[in-house]
């Protein structure tokens, strides 16, 4: 029996459900499993069954069981990879046939580009609401009137949770952790109602996998499911668990601002706004009550708060007062849109010209600092989508390196840092397909950059105070500004 045990567990470790079902099928092994082997293996076998059961009920020619269970909210979830394989399905109500995804594939085909698949698709009996994250489609099936935003938010939360648990939200990670995935999905949604979506609570219910734990589990027979009631779930602060303890108490805040801008040919700003977030990493023992104040809170007139923030306090005193969740979370996101406040840190000079009746043209681009508040602009990348008739490009950069992809017609110039003494530029020839007319569409230009130690809106944290606990925490604030959707017209 020992050998069987090893065989099973090694196969389980590679998450090979196919083999598992085959073993089970091969005659009475389950009996043996049930009676003889240790129960961590039993439950793995069971998980495999539960996972497989979705497809079990669906024999060939059996249509979906719709109509019997008119349910609210999310009926089923399919995970689909880029090559169109459905590699995971979960049904919270009756089983919906995989064939429903054909409508999705149809839309996907029509959209050509994966990013252009419409998020809401109607089919004769269902609606498909999908998101595209990390090269995966999360396709949910709903049957009645449900707020689509509710579904989309939930799907993103599922993806966030996978990311949080497995370090990445990829097909491989999900397949490797299929048992945990099913446990999570079961815990996150009940009858289509979201149950526990806060990472703090989920982690109390189901422990994230670590190599150490999986080894320990298989030897000692303990499991990764918590057996106590998640403490936070019922208190007035559902986002925090009780009994948090750290030897080093730390609270770090990252103020991250992204500039979304459209700059026209002449270099003037058509549109600019700042999308800012404050992400927090809080490792504080007990029940700390924090208040964070700003030098210039008036900047924040359009904000979205984490539920932990006391809205009344903000309204009256412009102070962020909250009992934080444990770990990493997004405290607030905000938008600064008044034009005069949005500084544009770089400028671009560019030109592209084609001669009549000739198959080549000249291309020239220079980038320089503008309102950069005396900080270094780094990590600059320029991406240009060239017209379709461009065959290749022959350019010389003064710094950095460039690539041109002749299939997607995307020119990428990795510039690096700007040194004001010598402005980076990229010049050279554009070759068109022979005989092709002058291109009618304009290239489009996107820029990425990064400025450390600066929040471009001028937002500054004044102080962080902690109440309710005695110890003195380490505190820190970091600022960074990046380009968001930063686009320059030709």
């Amino acid at each position: 029996m020992l050998s069987l045990k090893w065989r099973l567990s090694s196969q389980l470790r590679s998450s090979c459900i196919f083999n598992l079902s085959n073993i089970v099928d091969r005659g009475g092994v389950f009996e043996a499993v049930n009676q003889a082997i240790s129960w961590p293996l039993q439950l793995r076998v069971l998980a495999a069954f539960s996972a497989s059961s979705a497809s079990v009920c669906r024999g060939p020619g059996v249509e979906s069981l719709t109509g019997t269970g008119v349910g609210k909210m999310i009926h089923s979830l399919f995970l689909i990879n880029c090559s169109g394989d459905i590699f995971l399905e979960k049904h919270w109500k009756s089983v919906v046939s995989q064939s429903v995804c054909d409508y999705f594939f149809e839309a996907q085909e029509k959209a050509a580009d994966v990013e252009n698949v419409p998020p809401v698709i109607s089919t004769p009996h269902h609606y498909l609401i999908s998101i595209y994250r990390d090269k995966l489609f999360f396709v949910s099936v709903i049957q009645t009137e449900v707020p689509p935003l509710f579904v989309i938010e939930f799907l993103h939360r599922v993806a966030d949770t996978f990311q949080d648990y497995f370090g990445e939200c990829s097909e491989a990670a999900i397949k490797d952790n299929v048992v945990i995935v099913y446990e999570l999905l079961e815990e996150m949604l009940d009858n289509g109602f979201p149950l526990a979506t806060e990472s703090n609570i989920l982690k109390e219910l189901i422990k994230p996998p670590t190599i150490l734990r999986s080894v320990v589990n298989s030897i000692t027979g303990s499991s990764n499911v918590g057996d106590t009631l998640p403490t936070g779930q019922l208190s007035n602060i559902p986002w925090r668990r009780a009994g948090v303890k750290y030897t080093n108490n730390e609270a770090y805040f990252d103020v991250i601002e992204e500039i979304d801008a459209i700059i026209d040919k002449s270099g003037s700003t058509v549109f600019a706004e700042i999308q800012g977030v404050i992400d927090a990493c809080i490792k504080l023992s007990g029940m700390p009550d924090l208040s964070l104040s700003f030098m210039n809170p008036r900047l924040l007139d359009d904000v979205s708060f984490h539920p932990c923030i006391r809205f009344k306090r903000w309204e009256s005193e412009r102070v962020l007062s909250f009992i934080p969740p444990d770990g990493n979370f997004r405290l607030i996101s905000y938008r600064v849109s008044s034009q005069n406040l949005v500084a544009i840190p770089v400028y671009v000079k560019h030109s592209i010209s084609f001669k009549e009746n000739s198959s080549c043209g000249r291309f020239d681009i220079t980038i320089g600092p503008k309102q950069n508040m005396g900080k270094t602009i780094e990590g600059i990348t320029v991406t240009v989508h060239m017209p379709k008739v461009v065959l290749n490009m022959n350019l010389t950069p003064t710094q950095g390196s460039y690539t041109f992809d002749p299939v997607t017609k995307v020119l990428t110039w990795d510039v690096g840092k700007i040194t004001p003494q010598k402005l980076p530029s990229l010049k050279g020839l554009v070759n068109l397909q022979s005989g092709a007319p002058k291109p009618e569409e304009n290239p489009s230009l996107n820029i990425q950059f990064k400025i450390q130690q600066l929040a471009i809106s001028g937002l500054k944290v004044n102080r962080l105070d902690m109440y309710g606990e005695k110890y003195k925490p380490f505190k820190g604030v970091k600022y960074v500004t990046k380009a968001g959707k930063f686009q320059v017209y030709y």
Binding site: S50, S53, V56, P119, I131, I152, N191, P194, L229, S333
Partner: protein, 797 residues
């Protein structure tokens, strides 16, 4: 993901594992049960005992897990056994168990509604609304609203100020998902007066800053709905307007899928209350890497927000878009330029020159779109931009899409006198007449007739040719009929023909693609739902229509009419009669085929006309004489839906009234007869009817049908007091008894001297009809234009 092995044979073995103390194992066994209980109902009974036992477990987590799983086992036999444990769990001391049990009631209701009612679970659930724990309240609200949806009539969610207060308190403390349920519940409540509406709004407003976009949009829904009740003079009204803009804009910085849903909803909000986002034009500027579905939605909203103040920016942007790579997007951008020209008069000149620039690019699809929109610009600003015709004619050959061809032909026909070689141009199209689409054929026919009327000498042959092509060689009835009508017109009275065909055309309205106001009001109640994404009322697409409740915005002031029975409460026509979407912008369908020479049929034939063509100009006054001045059914002008006469209240907005906004047919417009009283409700008497105004007298045209088996006699009619004092001017004259299956048509003259009482909506009329069998009541809306005297002023009111 697996080979699909059926492992239900292992049921007994798995159930044996159920008694374990290990939580993870228990969970997985439960998972297995949920999946296989249905296929092994007899064996599932074995699990009952364990469930009952687990429901008494000291660990609340296990109690909750048991009650949660129970609800997912959809086996009738089991459900009976589960009632007792569920009852206990609903009253459990631990809120975690109570909140799970609340959801379980909804599940059970789905399996066996009767059982849930008999066991009194609904009352328990209602009690949970007053629970001390906010999560329990939220789940109870969610469960109740799910159950209520399958029982539209039942008054399950009986919201009163006390329960509303409880919900609002719970709102602040429960999880984000709970907040969505509670907000959706709140949206179904109708506050008793504006003060209550304001206090609810004040307590909902903080939700606008929530990080979860679904919470934000649900809060927006509540606010948009209750704002309807607030007076616009109120300071708070202005504050609320200001507070609504930032969260809506913030939604646009989220993931593209969220943006899409948000944009679809913003599209509705902008139509209902343009003032909210009028200063936020720039956030709708399209970014290069937006997905196409986001780009198209943004473009639509940009045009809705375009005004004189921002038009320069908008045009500059649109011009950029017109040189992008994506064809669909470029097309829509070109169209958008045309719509701007029509919407903002000051910009028309610039728009036209932009369009001309685009035509110069010679990019095929750009040219075609440009020509389609220039046609509309000509309609809107006659005699202003005709100088560009020459440029357009240069591109005649490159047009290969029917819409563009039809538009070009319309232009040639309309301006035949200025185009020297108009006959040659049209003749060249005529060669392949039978290969053209119907749209182009109809347009060509009309254009050549116009040409003939303008230059009769040179084009006689051409017109003969097209008329014979249309009437003899075509099997398309629309085309043939139009051909015949032209032919007869031309042969009997060329002067009249000229008057008809070349009549002054009504100007097209500025806003296109607007959603019809009643539908818009209904959709505002459905913000954040699928209905708002599809811009259709839920009844139009939710499968089976089960549980769809017709929602309407609350009236602005809490008037005494609000006590009306729920049946009559919703304003406007029943959803079935509403058009799903107003037909695509563009062409006036001046469709001759809508000339209804016989007795008008009931039902709305207007919007459903399959023929879409450019303006045919038969709206002139000469028509009345042509067809004897009776029963002229106005063509639906798709492009002119919105600005009906200003005095018309929001209640007056069913489709047929819209057409009255065309305003060119002094008094001759008659809506088709609609069924007012179905036979089912009136012991076999079916009444359909409409209102007409002819030469200063109003009458109600009735059609009585006897669908019963006995003869009907002794008809009489009476009106309830109404807003304009409409009353029968003569008794209802049905001369002979009405035998089974017989129909009579009666025209009942009306006067406006009856007693007056303000109705809601304004044009509501309650009618009683009596016959030898019984008295029947029905309610109808009369179009306000019947009250207008011919000189354009409103009659005594």
């Amino acid at each position: 993901m697996t080979v699909g092995k059926d492992v239900s044979a292992l049921f007994p073995d798995v159930v044996n594992c159920m008694q374990t103390d290990n939580l993870e194992l228990k969970k997985l066994v439960y998972l297995y049960l949920m999946n296989y209980a249905k296929s092994q109902p007899d064996m599932a009974i074995m699990a009952v005992n364990t469930f009952v036992k687990d429901c008494e477990d000291p660990n609340p987590l296990i109690r909750a897990l048991a009650v949660r799983t129970m609800g997912c086992i959809r086996v009738d036999k089991i459900t009976e056994y589960l009632c007792e444990p569920l009852r206990k769990c609903l009253k459990d001391e631990d809120p975690y168990v109570r909140k799970t049990a609340a959801v379980c009631v909804a599940k059970l209701h789905d399996i066996n509604a009767q059982l849930v009612e008999d066991q009194g679970f609904l009352d328990t659930l209602k009690d949970l609304i007053s629970d001390s724990n906010p999560m329990v309240v939220a789940n109870a609200a969610a469960a109740l609203s799910e159950i209520a949806e399958s029982h539209p009539s039942s008054n399950l969610l009986d919201l009163n100020p006390q329960s509303i207060n409880k919900l609002l308190t719970a709102l602040n403390e429960c999880t984000e998902w709970g907040q969505i349920f509670i907000l959706d519940c709140l949206a179904n409540y109708t506050p008793k007066d504006d003060r209550e509406a304001q206090s609810i709004c004040e307590r909902v407003t903080p939700r606008l800053s929530h990080a979860n976009s679904a919470v934000v949009l649900s809060a927006v829904k509540v606010l948009m709905k209750f704002m309807e009740m607030l007076s616009k003079d109120l300071d708070y009204y202005g504050t609320l307007l200001k507070k609504l803009a930032p969260p809506l804009v913030t939604l646009l910085s989220a993931e593209p899928e969220l943006q899409y849903v948000a944009l679809r909803n913003i599209n509705l909000i902008v139509q209902k209350r343009p003032e909210i986002l009028k200063h936020e034009m720039k956030v709708f500027f399209v970014k290069y890497n937006d997905p196409i579905y986001v780009k198209l939605e943004k473009l639509d909203i940009m045009i809705r927000l375009a005004s004189q103040a921002n038009i320069a920016q908008v045009l500059a942007e649109l011009k950029e878009y017109a040189t992008e790579v994506d064809v669909d997007f470029v097309r829509k951008a070109v169209r958008a330029i045309g719509r701007c020209a029509i919407k903002v008069e000051q910009s028309a000149e610039r728009c036209v020159s932009t369009l001309l620039d685009l035509i110069q690019t010679k990019v095929n699809y750009v040219v075609q779109e440009a020509i389609v929109v220039i046609k509309d610009i000509f309609r809107k600003y006659p005699n202003k931009y005709e100088s560009v015709i020459a440029t357009l004619c240069e591109n005649l050959d490159s047009l290969d899409e029917p819409e563009a061809r039809a538009a070009m032909i319309w232009i040639v026909g309309e301006y035949a006198e200025r185009i020297d070689n108009a006959d040659e141009l049209l003749e060249s199209f005529l060669e392949g007449f039978h290969d053209e689409s119907t749209q182009v054929q109809l347009q060509l026919l009309t254009a050549i007739v116009k040409l003939f009327l303008k230059k009769p000498t040179e084009t006689q042959e051409l017109v003969q040719q097209v008329l014979s092509l249309a009437t003899q060689d075509s099997d398309n009835p629309d085309l043939r009929d139009r051909g015949y009508i032209y032919w007869r017109l031309l042969s009997t009275d060329p002067v009249a023909a000229k008057e008809v065909v070349l009549a002054e055309k009504p100007l097209i309205s500025e806003e296109t693609d607007l959603i019809e106001p009643t539908l818009l009001d209904e959709l505002i109640c459905y913000i954040g739902t699928l209905a708002s994404v599809y811009h259709k009322p839920p009844s139009a697409f939710v499968e089976g229509g089960r549980g769809v409740v017709h929602k309407s915005l609350p009236p602005r002031t809490a008037s005494n009419e609000s006590t009306e029975s729920p049946e009559t409460a919703p304003a406007g026509a029943p959803p079935g009669e509403q058009p799903d979407v107003i037909p695509a912008q563009g062409d006036l369908l001046g469709d001759l085929l809508n000339l209804d020479l016989g007795p008008p049929v009931s039902g709305p034939p207007l919007a459903t006309s399959s023929v879409q063509m450019g303006a045919v100009d038969l709206l002139g006054g000469g028509l009345d004489s042509l067809i004897g001045g009776t029963n002229f059914v106005a063509p639906t002008t798709a492009a002119a839906p919105a600005n009906l006469g200003a005095p018309i209240g929001s209640g007056l907005s069913d489709l047929f009234d819209l057409t009255s906004g065309v305003g060119t047919l002094s008094g001759s417009y008659v809506a088709p007869k609609a069924v007012w009283l179905p036979a089912m409700k009136a012991k076999g008497l079916e009444i359909s009817g409409t209102f007409t105004r002819q030469v200063a007298s109003i009458s109600m045209d009735l059609q009585l049908t006897n669908k019963a088996l006995q003869v009907m006699t002794d008809f009489a009619i009476q009106f309830n007091r109404n807003s304009f004092g409409l009353a029968p001017a003569a008794p209802l004259q049905v001369h002979a008894p009405l035998s089974p299956n017989q129909t009579v048509e009666i025209s009942l003259p009306l006067s406006t001297v009856g007693s007056v009482m303000k109705m809601e909506p304004l044009n509501n009329l309650q009618v009683a009809v009596k016959n030898n069998i019984d008295v029947f009541y029905f309610r109808t809306l009369y179009p306000l234009h019947i009250l207008f005297v011919e000189d354009g002023k409103m009659g005594e009111s």
